[in-house]
Amino acid sequence: METIQLDVLKISGAILLIATFGVIARRGFMDWLNAYRLQSVVLAVVTTIIGYVTGIWEIYIAAALTLVIKSLVIPKVLTHVTKSLEIESKTDANPYLSLRTSIIVSAFLVAMSYFLSQQIPFKSDPVVSVFLPVSMAQFFLGLFALVNRRTALSQVVGLLVIENGLFLFTLVLTHGVSLIIEVGIFADILVGIVISSILLFRMSRTFDSLDVDKLENLRDD
């Protein structure tokens, strides 16, 4: 592999990581959604680069799907949902940890991803060595965002970031397994988003809040 290709891979990996941090380092749902949209666009570009490097045409289709579904359709659906929720304060994402602490925790998570991916025996392949830690970092940052936010809406975005990490992880290790599975995964996300939107809508009507701490009727006592 030429050095220039390797450089492109490394730089795009770094940009993707920074875009993922954008989701952590912001307050307010619309900022979040924009950060997610940006991350998805970067992910689509990265996917295209991987497709070019490996020379597998199916990866281009995955890139196109990413661009259309994740950076256009899903943000549109979620924006529509928030608009219909009416009350602005419901969509504010109050993290349990402050933004500063969140950034420090996230940095640790990224370091952990690099450490973990060195422990796992993989054959040396530039695509794997550059993007595997990035994808794991996305996965962990998504998990962190999911448990660190109070509102149900922001949990959905956490789920989406996790899913982006999974997508990159699968792509890097399998080089686009087969189109059926990719399409299946995309369909699952899309339906999942629609269902969670319905739930969010109902939740805000029934509980008059999207705070997941209020969900505590069901327990054993």
Binding site: A152, L218, D221
Partner: protein
Amino acid sequence: MNSLSSNLIVVFLLLTPLVGGILVTFFRKKRIIEIVTISSASLVLIQVFFILSIIINEKTLSAFGNAFYIDSFGAVILLPISIVGFVSVLYSKNYMGRQYHIGLVDDRHIVRYYQGLSIFLLSMLVVPITNNLGVMWVTVEATTLISVLLIMLYFKENAIEAAWKYLIIATVGLSFALIGTVFFYYANITAGSSEDAMNWTGMVHNSKLFDPSLVKIAFVFILVGYGTKAGLAPMHTWLPDAHSEAPTPVSALLSGVLLNCALYGIIRFHIVSSGTLGPAFSNQLLIILGVVSIGIAAASIYFQKDMKRMLAYSSVEHMGIVSLGIGFGGLFGIYGAILQIINHAIAKPLMFFASGTVSQKYETKVMSKIKGIIQVMPITGALFLIGGFALVGMPPFNIFLSEFLVLSSGFQSGQFLVTIIVISFLVITFAVFLRHLIKMTFGNPVTEMKKDDMGKLAIVPMAILASLVIIFGFYIPEQLQTLVHNASSIINGGSMT
């Protein structure tokens, strides 16, 4: 069996519920919807029996190249799906009819409910017959989404809460399973496989060449991922909420069948991992999760006040027993575990149906407010008792036999301490569950109630299940024995088929 006819078998099996679901959308009349769904579910049942008869004779059935692959193990999962699917649809007619009558649901809900039920059945049918482990993941994820829709049918406060927790926890959990699946795939291609490396048959064939440390990590991810969906403790937290808030027929499907589908995924990977590492590694993990599940279930049942939540925790317990049986290994343990899967899938829906009818009659799920079921509804009360006795593992009902096999295999494999701990947990569950059961069944009802069994169609599905519970306690048909035996030898090493 030539390839064309096996392709047709698979196509018809999957088309039946799909067409059923689509037809429901067009007709929109409650009466016709019910007839369509019941006939499609019974067609599925007939086709599954036909497939089973082929598997008993020919051991395997593959269709569309190797994309679909049914062996004896897939068949023993397919059987409960079709049986419980059929009785749930039958019970739905009465249950949803009653909800419709009192105005809890309207026509739109009914259409949505039966659509969801058919598609739910379809997605569960794909899991045990697909050979591609990626497709299996996609369909298990699809079952989550569809069952979330079914749980939140009423948009009641508790149902929304349960659905939300279930959606988030199960989706995050399953993302671990996808990582595990990809690791296994990667181990397969680095071991030199190129053709259909995602197929289970290919993986088992190649498993001796896999990188052992990669397989260890991969199996842990699989166990966490599918374990969440199978309700194994400590990842079970969503289960009591979701199973108790769903409409009763859906609870029966979730508890009796869907949990098995997730366990099926774990066991498939357990077979691959045993090929690489030997069985010791995954067995140990399965035993640990099994014991923790049984323990947590015992503690939760001890403090339980809600009838349906108690049944949900009992599912955690039984999934623990299955996982324990697979972990103990040996032909006995695995045979017992598979029998336990089938027995639990019969007894749990019976119990859910009975308690659903009871809670409709008493208008509560709190156990201390339910008394004298046998006086108010004699037939339902008797069936309720049979189901309860079976669930706690009382002889001569069916679960006694499988639990006995699992526990004796524990002693055989020399795991005395573990087995004794498990037995003490089971004794606690036995005593507490039985006390609740007897308090609810006998005594005098708190308020004066009309003696009424809530309609024949509620009784028929329960009677079918109850007779199976009793029959399987004494006698297991020879064909089923062959099937379970073949499935056990697939899990026990693969070479014996």
